[in-house]
Amino acid sequence: MTKLKLSGVSKAYGATLALRRGDLELDSGEVHVLIGANGSGKSTLCKIVAGSVRPDAGEVLLDGRAVTVSGPRAAQALGIGIFYQELSLADHRSVAENICLPDLPRQNGLFIDRTALRAEAERYIALFETVAGAALQADTIVGDLRADQRQLVEIMKALATEAPILIFDEPTSALDRAQVDRFFEILRDLKSKGRSIVFISHRMDEIFAIGDRVTVIRDGETVGTTTISETSPDAVIHMMVGEQETLATPQAAPPIHAPSTDIALKVEGLTGAGFHEVSFAVGRGEILGLGGLHGQGQSAILKALFGAVAPRSGEVKLAGERLRIDSPRSAIAQGLAYVSGDRGRDGVISGRPILENVTPIHALRNRLLLARPGRLAEKALPALKALNTKFAGLSHSIGSLSGGNQQKIVIARWLIDKPDILLLDDPTKGIDLSAKADLFALIRELAAEGLAIVLYSSEDAELLNNADRILVFNGGSVSRELSGAERTRYNLYQAAYEAA
């Protein structure tokens, strides 16, 4: 009884292949789990089914009939409802309006039927009555709700479509235990009524609690589907890891620096928005990797260390001395450097020449009042050269460069006056392979010169190949430390996916 079948579905954004070959078979009356590492294409697959992304190739069969899902409206007409991971709520509208937004009830053809709207919304609010908290009422403005309550509203909105096929893309990430349990009860009830449900979660225990079958996606390709009752968490992780179980390139396995001897940066019990009680130490010459799923606190910690977001409590010591960092300015003065993967927002000074983009940190650290282009160029050129940066001239706009070269400019900024600590926040996002190789070669070189480097990367291969030690983050704290031979894809996934 195949309700929905996808075969060979693919989608590329420019040069990036988001989904190479997605296959999925969804039966009536089942909860079908999709699992895969960061960026493996799960969300893209879901959005194709829900019509908000058009596939480049492949076939979608609904009840055995080939269909084109031309948009979210068409998907609703075909009986497909979806919970969006990034939510699709209107913040200034009420809970009731949001739940019924796709199809607001009308009277006399023109006006909204407020009574019907309320009644309809309250049916779905009542489903979560015991766990949602008192503030979640039909009239509450969605923007006033907590994160978990907003997520519940998005769930209600998906349920309110009453579609035979429901897709939930990470619906439980902000929910507490009781809310998840209630949600699962509702899912089981829907299942017993013959509805087909796609469920994405990164928590292994949830997957085994609710799923009937699981389909694993790796690097944009469907690897296989198995029945949950016949498999184990271990086997699923093995499917996710595939053949790449060990380090991809063993040459990268560098000498391990004992952090106890020459500690550059020590973090003790750091707590803030998105992370709690995190402690670690980085030695000089060491590259410490932060791993795990997206948004488990890795970026938040790096931002806090750089003074961009104030932590609530905890201590940071630089070479044994307690550090007071209240702004990026003071962090820079004390020898910290930070490179963000979001260079458009945090790195590039857009529309300005390359020279101006390379020298701001130098100007700040040396309190330069006057900028003499000739002098600055002398400083800038070696730094750019160290990175193999390709550019036509220092006076050209940074916008004329490719993404990879722009990021090199941003990194070169920190190389004129060497910092002690380099914080890298997913620095290779959207950069081509050769630029990546250049970057990591330089990072290794910097470490050899005695810099302490903290590297967060959303690409697991980068971490495994380049970090001396990896801290795996899960739910805002470190769940496991991997060093030496333990640094395998399998261990990384296992630590990342186990229940937080």
């Binding site: 829900a50 908000s52 948009g71 979210p72 409206r73 998907a75 609703q76 979806i82 969006y84 939510l87 699709s88 709520l89 209107a90 913040d91 200034h92 509208r93 309006e97 937004l101 796709p102 199809d103 607001l104 009308r106 023109l110 006006f111 909204i112 407020r114 008192a134 503030a135 009422q137 403005i141 006033d144 909105k157």
Partner: protein
Amino acid sequence: MTTNASLTAHDSGLRRLLGRFPFLPALFILAVLLILNGIFEPNSLSFRSLTGLVRTYMALMLLAVAQTYVVYAADIDLSVGAIASLVNVTIIVLMQHMGGGGLSVLAALGVGVLVGLACGLVNGFVVAALRLQAIVATFATSIFFTGLALVILPVAGMPAPTVFWRTYGGSFFGIPFVFYAAATLAILLYLLARTRLATQLLAVGDGQQAAFQSGLPVTAIRIGGYALCGVFAALAAFCITGDTASGDPLVGAKMTLFSVAAVVLGGSALSGGFGTVAGSVIAALIIGLINSLVFFAGTPSHWQNFVQGLAILAALMVGVLVSRRGRA
């Protein structure tokens, strides 16, 4: 619910109040201005003067309402003034050609509404379907609409038929016509606030991507907002025509940015998703009262623009400060 609220009773009370009635700061400023007007010129609070105020600023109120529907969806329309000009000259010329009788006036008004609607649809098509930047695209269409108006009536001054401006300035059963118009407007706005389109416009303004993913026909909704805006700009043109009793192809141009100012002053967010038409109407009256206050306070004529600008800035500041406290 009550236990939570009592903890921060004062702040959350203000917050909730502002959330439901975002035009409260504007209402407060309006009251202050009325009092100030009364102090400088007690006569200004007489029934006659207030009638005059509403008669003169009815057009701006309607333009502010027109602008509000577009701003709901995070768009903007810099052509409302030009649409009003175009409708003004269209109905004047039509009424002149058809002889100026009662029926011809009604027919001309019907055509006027259609012209406004057509202009709105053009704007909507250009902005929502062709996806041009609203601010530039409607600036361009405003030049286009003004050009059309200049073709229809190259020189200002063709008079409106007597029956038309007599009606607009007259009274029925002892109540001035503009108050009937205001009451009709109030009912119309009440009904419009209950339509599906109003909620959908606000949802689009809150986040276009989210609205699209929710299955809303985003392009059609935005075009609907512009169409509504065009119709209200046409209604504003009727009031301008009634007030000035003549045709002028450039009459609306200077009112466009006043309509944007009124929307903001009325508590709506230019970023979309949040606001009320009532606030815009009140804010249009505020701008009117500021103008009359500047006059009654005896400001020398060459200082009037200066003072008027300062007063509008001050009013905007009060409004922003109050709403910010409420939202923090």
